[in-house]
Subunit: 325 residues, 2 copies
């Protein structure tokens, strides 16, 4: 591509074609209470209602559906503590591709259980102890043994293009946004959605939001140099990624307008708001965007009366972790 | 009416006209996991996403909008431990009618808080201690002192007609249901929805579901004699009503096909299922219908491959009651 970026709007449109009738076109919900609270009209893109409970299904399915027959027969490998694992497991099941998924033993129980369910009869779940080995080392060993194709959780053009379809749908459902707040871990969702925003609604200000403890993307964005935070302590388990990637970083630099951080305490307050006012179950990582919006509004940095898009990116939070039984 | 019932389909249609553009036309959601579990195609009518978090807004708004100018100026009185209180408070606010709401001090915190919010500047919240007095005694004293109109929580034709609009929308969104599972407390929602089902889809089997500890409606239905259970011990706080009413009981007898009960333990399992698989927050009373469906299926009483409607009636459950902070 002439802009030097790994993904363009045409790639996202092609991904949308592959996902049509397979991924859910998730609804856009609104809340008068939250509108009143932030002084804006907020449109929530509910990827917590996506198949396998998060936007990750889009990128995984898009990537898997682009494999050659040979690659598909040999199978895929993915490592993830959560939503990417479930997404690859489900996508491989749907496409008839054998999958090997590597997850840490301390991944959220609901994510382990769901991944195991999707893999039943068509794949393998490999658990590892984070204290004993790294997933990269384990994956490397497996890739040396078998001709598997690695499906990375975010830093891959097909994954990014798939995640971008969240934005394509949102701008179709609610044109003319003034702002768009998007969760950021490794930047797959953010770079995909920002690619779409710059094409479909150039005036829309795209804001990426990450946990304060893992502020690598915000510092990378501000310095122009890739920064790393290993194993940040945050309840946003989907955003514990060490850094942006070689594909996502240039897109974030080119297409995102602002990066900001929020605290775990602010994330819990936003989860509660979504629970009480919208009756939606959204995981900590999933409310990063809303939390950033609330913070921007309370700091007076949001134009009153704006139209604001917020991606609620996933809903995979264990009942046992939240509910007292 | 020639069938002797207090509410007919024409009343529900008229209510729908009054609610148009004011109540939400709530979405119908589905879940592949739950379909597979019960062996049927299940269509969930999400009244947890209704304004004020439950179907009750429909009946309250319909009843309030039918008051005379004089009645409206004098104001309304409602007593409720929960969703009816919030519903009347919000409807009165929207219609500019002063409201006095009587609630017990031990009502769920989120319901007290929300009711107080809606009443701000346009009504009054009166709290009472359940150990000291009954809400009926308190309400009677207030009605003697002031010319208020009492808006009952379920046993009123305008309230029933308003609740019936849930069914009108559902049959419009998903025609041809084989079964429809509906929560039952005092029978306002059940009788309204059953009225619609008998008119729009006579072959649809309407099943009312109530908590086992408060099985008054099931026994009333089976014996043809009104039965009463005072203060049943159940987590389904919206179904702690002592009995069906003089308007709802005849409609339940005429239009409902089956009544059944479920335990609190079964309700919690269903809440968990809806939380984990549908990412929806639904209160214990709100999952009565789904719980009845799961039970019917596991007992082999559901035809495989059926199309089944389920009303998720409300989502007002306190975060503080369920979240470990």
């Amino acid at each position: 591509m002439d802009d030097g970026l790994s993904v363009g709007i045409a790639d996202v449109r092609a991904a949308a074609g592959r996902l049509a009738g397979i991924a859910h076109r998730t609804p856009v919900l609104t809340s008068r209470a939250i509108d009143a609270m932030v002084g804006a009209e907020v449109l929530f893109k509910c990827e917590n209602l996506q198949r396998a409970g998060a936007f990750k299904f889009r990128g995984a399915y898009n990537a898997l559906s682009r494999l050659s027959d040979e690659q598909g027969q040999a199978g895929v490998l993915a490592y993830s503590s959560g939503n990417h694992a479930q997404a690859v497991a489900l996508a491989s099941r749907l496409l008839g591709i054998p999958a090997t998924i590597v997850m840490p033993t301390d991944a959220p129980a609901c994510k382990l259980e769901a991944t195991r369910g999707y893999l039943e009869g068509c794949g393998e779940l490999v658990l590892y102890d984070r204290a004993q080995t790294t997933r990269e080392a384990l994956a490397e060993r497996m890739l040396n043994e078998r001709p598997l194709t690695l499906i990375p959780p975010y830093d891959h053009p097909d994954v990014i293009a798939g995640q971008g379809t969240v934005g394509l749908e949102l701008f179709d459902q609610t044109p003319q946004l003034d702002y768009l707040f998007v969760p950021c871990g490794g930047g797959g969702l953010l770079s995909g959605v920002a690619t779409v925003a710059k094409s479909e609604c150039p005036a829309c200000r795209v804001v990426g939001v990450e946990p304060e403890a893992g502020d690598d993307a915000t510092r990378s964005f501000r310095t122009g140099q890739l920064q790393t935070v290993r194993d940040p302590e945050t309840i946003a388990d989907g955003a514990r990624t060490p850094s942006l990637g070689e594909h996502t970083f240039p897109i974030v630099l080119a297409c995102v307008d602002e990066m900001m951080t929020v605290t775990d305490k602010e994330l819990v307050a936003a989860m509660r708001l979504v629970f009480e006012r919208m009756k939606q179950v959204v995981e900590p990582t999933g409310v990063l965007g809303l939390t950033g919006l609330i913070k921007s509004s309370s700091e007076g940095r949001l134009k009153r009366g704006s139209r604001v898009g917020v991606v609620l990116s996933g809903g995979n939070v264990s009942w046992g972790a939240v509910y007292q039984e």
